[in-house]
Amino acid sequence: MGPMSSLQGAIGAAGRAGVQWSTSWWHVVRVGALVLVLALSPSTYLATNRRALLHHLYVGTAPLVAWFAVLSALISLVLIRIVIVTAASYGLGQYALEMVIRVLVLELIPLTAALFVALRCTVPSGAELSRMHARGDLVRLQARGIDPVRHELMPRVVTGIFAVGLLAALSCLIALFIAYLSLYGLSLGAFAGFTRVVGQIFEPGVMMILALKTLLFSLAVSLIPVGALLRGPRPDTTRTSAALDSLVRMFLAILLIEVASLIGNYT
C-alpha cells in the first residue's frame, strides 16, 4: 500500500501543479483580454483615467530611454565591429551589413528591449501592484468609486507595451546609424547602396515577423508580471517565489516567441 499511496500522491501533486500552471496562464490571458477591452472602450480615456495612463506611460518609459539608448549604442558598436572585422577577415565584407542588420535589428534588439523593459519597468511595477493589492489599496480605491483596473492595472500594461515598442524602435535606429558609420564613415555616398541592402532584407514577411515579435514580446513582459495579481495571494507561496515564478514564466514566453520568429525568418 505504501508505494501505491506514494504514486497516488505524486500523480496528485503533478495534477495540482498542472492545474496551477494552466490557471496562471489563464490569468495572464484574462488580463490581456481585459486590457484589450478596456483599451478599446472610450470610457477608459476619460480625463482621470487618461491622466493616470499618461502618468504611468511617462514615468515608466522616460527614465529608461536615455540609459537604454546608451546601452544599446555600446552593445551595437561592439557587435557591429566584431561582425564587420570578422566578415572582412573572411573576405566577405560585402555581406557584413546584411549580417549586422539581421543579427542586431531583427533578432537582438527587440529581445534586449523586451528584457530591459521587463527588468526595469514591468516586473517592479507588477510587484508594486501586488503590494498594493496585499495592502488593500485597490479595495480602498474601489470604495472611492475609482476602478482600480482602469486606474492602476491597465496603465501599467500599456506602459510596458509602449516602452518595448519605443525602445526597440529607438535602438534599431541607433544600430542602423552606427552600422552605416562603421561601414562607410561620414560619407553620404553609400546611402543608396545601404538603402538597397536594407530594402532587400526587410521583405514584407520579415517586417511582419519583426512587428509581430516585438508586439508579442511587449505583451509577454507586460502581462505576465501583472497576471499574478488576478490570481491573488496564495497561502503556500511567498512573494519571492511568486515573483520568480512570473519571471520564469516570462522568460519562457520570450524564448518561445524568439524561437518561433527564428523559425519564421530562416526556414
Binding site: R51, L54, H55, A62, V65, R131, H151, F162, E203, A243
Partner: protein
C-alpha cells in the same frame, strides 16, 4: 529592478486621484513620447517602402533560364557593378523553363538595350548574380515586358571537374613520392652520390665509375708529374748542349759564316762561268754561220758530182766496149 522580496515593504502612500501627479506637464511629455514612437514607426515604414522601390515607376523584364537555382526574390540585377533592377517574382513556365521577373526602375532602364546580354552566374561561395551587359548603347532601348534568355555560368559545376583533376594530380604526386618510386630512388642515388663526394677522391670516383679507376688516374698523374720533371731536366741539358758555350749553335754560326764565304766564292765562279758561256755563245754563232756556208758548198759539190756522173754516162755510151745492157728472157 527593485527586489520583490524586500521585507518589510516600504509603506507606499495610498494612491489618491485627486492629488496632482508629481511630474509637471506629464500629459504633454507623455504625448511627446507617443508622438516620437509614432514618428519612428511611420518613418521606418516609409523608409522601408522607399528602400524596396515602392515609389519608383518600373518596367518589367522577363529572364528565361532552364534553372533558377540560387535566384531569390529581391536580389539585384546589376549592370557594371551597379544594381539597376530587382527580382520581383520567379515562376515556372509551361515549357519547364524558369521565368525570372525583374523590376527595372525607369530611370535605370536606359542601360538595357535590345542587344543587351543577361547572365546568371553562381559563385563558389554559393552567391548568385544576375548581370546585364550592353555592348552597343546606341541600340533601341529594351521595351517593357521584354523576354530574354539568360546565359548561365556555374562556378560550382566546375568544382567536381577540378577536383577530379586535382585527385589525378595528387595520385601522380603520390606515385612520384612513394618510397619505391623512381623519384625516390633517384634521390637515394643522389644521396649516395653526395655521400661518396664527401669522401676522399669522391669526385674522381664518381666521374670514373669506381675507386680503382680513380686510383689508376692518380697514379697516372703521379707518373706524368715525374715524367715532366725528367723532361724538365732533359730540357735543361739540351739547352746547355744546344746553346751552351760548346753547344751546337755556336758551331752552327761558324759553319754559316764559312758557308757565306763559300757562297761568295761560288758567286765569283759563276761569274766566270758566265763569261765562258758568253764565249761559247759567240763560238756557236760562228759555227752556225759556217754550217750555212757548208750547205751551199755541199749543193755545189752535189751539182758538180751530178755533172761528172752525166759525163761518165755519156762517155760510156759512146765508148766501143760498152757493156751489154740488154736483158735476155729465158
Amino acid at each position: 529592478m527593485s527586489p520583490p522580496d524586500r521585507d518589510p515593504p516600504p509603506p507606499a502612500p495610498p494612491p489618491d486621484v485627486d492629488t496632482p501627479f508629481s511630474v509637471k506637464h506629464v500629459e504633454a511629455k507623455a504625448s511627446l513620447l507617443l508622438l516620437a514612437l509614432l514618428l519612428m514607426v511611420l518613418g521606418a515604414v516609409a523608409y522601408l517602402a522607399y528602400a524596396r522601390g515602392a515609389f519608383e515607376p518600373t518596367q518589367t523584364l522577363v529572364l528565361v533560364s532552364d534553372d533558377s537555382e540560387g535566384v531569390v526574390v529581391g536580389m539585384d540585377l546589376t549592370f557594371a557593378g551597379f544594381a539597376i533592377g530587382r527580382v520581383k517574382r520567379i515562376e515556372l513556365a509551361p515549357d519547364g523553363n524558369a521565368r525570372v521577373l525583374v523590376d527595372v526602375p525607369l530611370k535605370d532602364a536606359h542601360w538595357l538595350r535590345e542587344s543587351s546580354i543577361f547572365t546568371l552566374v553562381r559563385g563558389v561561395v554559393g552567391n548568385t548574380n544576375i548581370r546585364a551587359y550592353s555592348g552597343v548603347l546606341t541600340d533601341p532601348p529594351l521595351p517593357d515586358g521584354a523576354v530574354r534568355t539568360v546565359l548561365r555560368g556555374d562556378t560550382a559545376a566546375e568544382i567536381p571537374k577540378l577536383l577530379a583533376q586535382a585527385r589525378e594530380l595528387l595520385q601522380n604526386l603520390n606515385a612520384m613520392t612513394a618510397s619505391d618510386s623512381s623519384l625516390s630512388n633517384s634521390f637515394g642515388n643522389v644521396q649516395a652520390l653526395t655521400d661518396k663526394l664527401k669522401g676522399p677522391g669522391g669526385g674522381l670516383g664518381v666521374l670514373l665509375g669506381s675507386d680503382a679507376e680513380a686510383k689508376k688516374l692518380l697514379a697516372t698523374l703521379e707518373r706524368t708529374n715525374s715524367l715532366l720533371a725528367r723532361l724538365d731536366t732533359l730540357a735543361v741539358k739540351a739547352d746547355a748542349q744546344v746553346f751552351g758555350k760548346d753547344g751546337v749553335m755556336p758551331h752552327a754560326n761558324a759553319s754559316v759564316q764559312q758557308l757565306n764565304a763559300l757562297l761568295a766564292d761560288a758567286r765569283a765562279s759563276l761569274k766566270k762561268a758566265d763569261a765562258v758561256l758568253d764565249d761559247a755563245k759567240t763560238i756557236s754563232g760562228n759555227a752556225k754561220s759556217a754550217t750555212a756556208d757548208l750547205g751551199s758548198l755541199r749543193a755545189q759539190v752535189e751539182a758538180s758530182l751530178r755533172n761528172v756522173d752525166a759525163l761518165i754516162l755519156e762517155v760510156n755510151r759512146k765508148w766501143p766496149f760498152a757493156r751489154d745492157t740488154e736483158v735476155k728472157l729465158p
